[in-house]
Symmetry: C2
DNA sequence: CTGAAAGCGCTTACAG
DNA sequence: CTGAAAGCGCTTACAG
């Protein structure tokens, strides 16, 4: 009993089939394999009758060209690899849609791989893509962005980072304008009259988190509110971390009247804790997030947030890759604007 | 300005690099490329000193073996392709985790591709995987399951379907026991005292939907409640469709006191519409879903549902593939059990 | 322990 | 319009 690894050729579904090659078809059609190749590709330089006979046979035997063989000679795979931190995050779903939009237009296949926010895994996954000779790689919300700087130096396959989490500059990146967007959300809260506003962040050290905190602080400053470190607590970018952080805020001696969360997933956990403590959103505490996940409007109350143009960001990332391919771009750092979406989770503070 | 497609070899990040091959390393090390190949693979049959010198050089030049070349000779790619209807669906995220658990143990790489619930796309994506000679394919929530029956006949690469949506039998599949799980949810509602229970389904014709409807009807029968077709409405498996269907139920002449939804995404939309109509869950209408998505417990009220052991299902699907590889299995249809999770969205009807 | 050779499945000049 | 030949980057018997 051998695995494909040991056996070499798969026996099909127990039927002992192997993949038909152009040689098999050539034999069946009584022509050379070169002719089969031509007929199956462009169809140029082959007599119509011959070509259609070949195509018919190929169809009959269920011929599938080997991308491996093809890419070996062509030097490209017409494939883009996308590394996502977590398929479960609705944010990546939006981004992936955008990547696919553009990729499909240009006939690239898009494959995803999960890093599960594990830096080691992220590196392994990027390597797996490289070995399969994808033409380009897009890494979303990388946890090890900085690592790419030296790697890029001799990287054969172009990499575009999307909302990378580590400080540093990259040849190619697409990022949301975090400071500005955070400034706007927080300003929205100060304008509602809030003076004690909490911030629940991501794990520290990540660029997005640092930038969102900066925007938050700037809004406070604008409003003449002194920064209170006790109101800034780390989360982990997920509901669990948001919940734990919120609990700590609720145990403080003076409650915030509003909380700005690093992202919507964090806000999800925070809102739940607020409810579990017998308080109401936004009556007792206003909550705002970041991302505009599809589920925001299905929450009760619906979540105020910053819309990241996820699909657009995915499109831009893919377009950047396409530009690199054509040589039109050697370095490209794009900042996109977020947009404040006010929903029911934020309101003026009580009295 | 050429794309990789036209150009053949990528110029790297503008640095004119091409991928180093074992020949390049052989030249640098002053040995034959066969020796390089051996040193880089097992390391057997090569003098230690030679091997380590070769590995050092490979490291220096940033050598990445070509999976294409390797798989061409070995006949396998050590890669599994997973087709998902929608990366945005948290259900697939759970399944993918399970697939990865098992795949990682056996050193298979896992790549995902999106079908966006579009049958044409699904077929194209499966084909893309076949051409890249993945060793196996797992298709989740397929919309075109039936299509695989003839295809499987001459399929070279084994396919495992997970919760396929179309009637028919497949060589390999993993499915939740829909009738039983639905029976239990609906029974939960009848036992709470509900007599007018609605069902919001998926698009019709899908196997899962048919089976869940059957379980629902059986529970009604058990409780001596006549089936009322007016209470069964089609959705689309997403919040939008759930909302539209709920609206129709709310416009009926006699409101249901409880609604069982095809899945949690559907329930999400239904609950929102209930709120928008000024009614409360579960006070006015109880709502139950199916899947147990991570977000269920973050809803207000948290959603009663059936837990699908998504991760476990993913593991089983991958294990099925592994069994096919070793020849231990030629046909394998697994039914897994769901589990009722009672949360706050269901309660006894008013008086 | 090492090298030369054949071959995996394709594409693509080069001849005819 | 068609075929023979070379070659993409690797692995693996086969000789030494």
């Amino acid at each position: 009993m051998l695995t494909p690894k040991q056996l070499g050729r798969l026996p099909g579904t127990g039927r002992g089939l192997r993949n038909a090659s152009i040689k098999d078809i050539a034999r069946l059609a009584g022509v050379s394999h070169s002719t089969v190749s031509r007929a199956l590709r462009g169809g140029v330089l082959v007599r119509d009758e011959t070509a259609s006979r070949i195509r018919k046979i190929a169809e009959e035997v269920g011929y599938r060209p080997s991308a491996a063989a093809r890419s070996l000679v062509s030097g490209h795979s017409d494939t883009i690899g996308v590394v996502v931190t977590n398929v479960a995050d609705p944010f990546v779903a939006g981004v992936v849609r955008g990547i696919e939009d553009r990729a499909e237009e240009h006939r690239y296949a898009v494959f995803l791989a999960n890093s599960n926010a594990d830096p080691d895994r992220e590196v392994r996954v990027v390597r797996a893509f490289e070995e399969r000779r994808v033409d380009g790689i897009i890494v979303t919300s990388s946890r090890v962005g900085a690592l790419y700087v030296p790697v890029m130096e001799r990287m054969r396959v172009p990499i575009v980072l999307l909302n990378n989490q580590h400080p540093g500059h990259f040849a190619h990146s697409v990022m949301i304008d975090n400071p500005k967007a955070s400034l706007e959300v927080t300003r929205h809260l100060t304008q509602l009259g809030h003076r004690r506003i909490g911030y629940i962040g991501d794990r520290s050290g990540h660029q997005s988190d640092t930038e969102r905190l900066a925007g938050y602080r700037q809004a406070l400053e604008e409003a003449g509110i002194p920064f209170d470190p006790a109101l800034t607590i780390q989360g982990d970018g997920r509901p669990e971390g948001g919940g734990i952080a919120m609990t700590r805020l609720l145990q403080g001696n003076r409650l915030p009247t509003a909380v700005f969360c690093y992202n919507d997933m964090t806000a999800l956990g925070a809102m739940r804790q607020i409810r579990l403590h017998g308080l109401r959103v936004p009556h007792d505490i206003s909550v705002a997030g970041f991302d505009d996940l599809f589920l925001d409007e299905y929450l009760d109350p619906p979540l105020t947030t910053v819309r990241q143009p996820m699909r657009e960001m995915g499109r831009i990332a893919m377009q950047t890759l396409l530009n690199i391919f054509t040589g039109e771009s050697n370095s490209h750092n794009v900042r996109v604007e977020g947009r404040l979406i006010v929903r029911g989770s934020t309101a003026a503070p009580k009295e």
